[in-house]
């Protein structure tokens, strides 16, 4: 459910005014028993009402796009807008590929301090920010904690977790996630916008790279000259441990073998 919220949040970066996911059993079970919601029979009446909110079967759309999430590699943005991204097993584009305006590509890789064709896994990471309204709900923090449990943040990396709200923070603490983060070397912070747009002192210094679970990687967003790479919470957590981007699918496989 909370991953759906991330998708809706990020639809704006795709040019949308809003992103919606039709309510279904996942939605209803997520809502059941939550504070501020009706209980018992009244809740069931609400569910019946919510079921009517899905699009009609014969609804007509301007365009339908079907994506198979299982075929998408964990994504890492390499450039200066969220569309400039590649799978972690991919590379920074080359001019010869002609997939985008060469002027835009040149501006982006110059700002980001990257070379064309460079593998994503060779990008060094000095900062890790797990936070923001996009990606710091409880499910996000659980995934990140699972990725780093019993390990230590790479030397030279500053890593922080900023829960999405005070209630997420309390819940994470009740589940012991804060201890997992702190013992790995992460800062465990109060909720807030923090390094998503760096209006407070949480700033990435010029020229340094940050693996960030926030929604925007525009020039200067995390500080003048800061180089932001947008990733999922699990990818950000793994980057903190390794000091670079790693394919978390391989990590999971290795663990299973062990």
């Amino acid at each position: 459910m909370e991953e759906r919220m991330t998708v809706c949040n990020m639809s704006i970066e795709g040019g949308a005014r809003a992103g919606l996911v039709a309510p279904d059993e996942t939605t209803f079970s997520y809502l059941k028993g939550r504070k501020y919601l009706p209980k018992g029979e009244e809740f069931e009446r609400c569910v019946q009402d919510w079921k009517s909110l899905s699009s009609d079967e014969d609804a007509v759309y301007d365009q339908e796009i079907i994506l198979d999430g299982s075929l998408i590699s964990p994504m890492v943005s390499w450039g200066t807008n969220p569309g400039m991204a590649s799978g972690v097993d991919g590379k920074v584009p080359t001019f010869a590929e002609e997939i985008m305006d060469p002027k835009e590509l040149n501006r982006a890789i110059e700002y980001m301090g990257l070379e064309e064709g460079m593998p994503i896994t060779e990008i060094p990471v000095q900062h890790v920010f797990i936070g923001s309204c996009t990606n710091s709900r409880i499910e996000d923090l659980r995934q990140a904690a699972e990725m780093i449990e019993g390990q230590t943040v790479q030397k030279g990396v500053r890593a922080m977790v900023v829960p999405g709200s005070q209630s997420v923070k309390r819940q994470a603490e009740d589940e012991g996630l804060d201890e997992i983060f702190k013992s790995a070397g992460f800062e465990w912070r109060e909720s807030g916008c923090s390094m998503c747009l760096s209006m407070n002192p949480d700033v990435v210094p010029a020229g340094e790279h940050c693996a960030s679970t926030s929604n925007r990687n525009f020039e200067g967003r995390q500080g003048a000259g800061a180089r932001t790479h947008l990733v999922s919470p699990a990818m950000a957590a793994a980057a903190a441990i390794h000091g670079k981007f790693v394919d978390i699918r391989n990590l999971k496989r290795t663990e299973q073998v062990q």
Partner: protein, 211 residues
């Protein structure tokens, strides 16, 4: 707001795509509570270096782009954060009209709500204008009622705009001006007895407390 009907002005070209609102008005300037005075921070990190000195290579710092009131830019202009400070800063700097192949939707409506006209032309037309605007005598004329744009040197094209926004801009209205036209009806409605009972939690609509 100032009504816009027939508009004449000189244009500046910013030949960049996907210009985001973090570039238009960086976050460190979002702290003031007025709508005015943001122009001096427009494109701050592009306009000024670390010491606050103008960067001579940035488009808007070049001599031929001084005293322009129309901005021509690349596709997807105004993407990213929906901050309304973006149109405020462009307007405060002196831009009333934006021309680009496409816009981020929220930015586009924020412009119109602040009395600016975001005009979408084809990429070919935008390229054509960008090549010519630096000439000192080059001026564009926008005829909003007739939805046309011309340069007085033979170039003429038309553009789309929703009739609602067109009327708002021609009359110089914002949404508050429109609401105020219903002042009598609003007062009559508000003088009803027990008006706020409809917001009671126990009304038939389960989420009335969210209103």
């Amino acid at each position: 707001m100032e009504p816009i009907t027939i508009y004449k002005g000189r244009a500046a070209a910013l030949d960049r795509k996907n210009v985001d609102t973090d570039q238009i008005i960086p976050k460190q300037f979002l702290k003031r509570i007025e709508r005015s005075g943001f122009g001096e921070f427009l494109f701050y990190n592009w306009r000024f270096d670390e010491n606050g000195k103008e960067r001579p290579d940035f488009e808007l710092n070049q001599p031929h782009n001084q005293n322009t009131s129309i901005l021509i830019a690349g596709e997807n202009f105004g993407c990213g954060s929906s901050r309304e400070h973006a149109p405020w800063s462009l307007k405060d700097y002196g831009f009333d009209i934006i021309i680009a192949p496409s816009y981020a939707d929220i930015f586009k409506s924020n412009c119109m709500k602040n009395g600016m006209v975001p005009i979408a032309l084809t990429q070919t037309e935008v390229n054509y204008l960008m090549e010519r605007v630096s000439a000192p005598d080059y001026e564009l004329t926008i005829d909003l009622p007739n939805q046309t744009l011309k340069d007085g040197q033979g170039f003429e094209t038309s553009f789309e705009i929703h009739p609602y926004w067109k009327e708002m801009l021609i009359k110089g209205w914002d949404e508050i001006s429109i609401t105020l036209q219903y002042d009598k009806e609003i007062s009559a409605y508000e003088s009803q007895k027990n008006l706020y009972r409809v917001f009671n939690r126990k009304s038939h609509f389960p989420f009335s407390f969210l209103i």
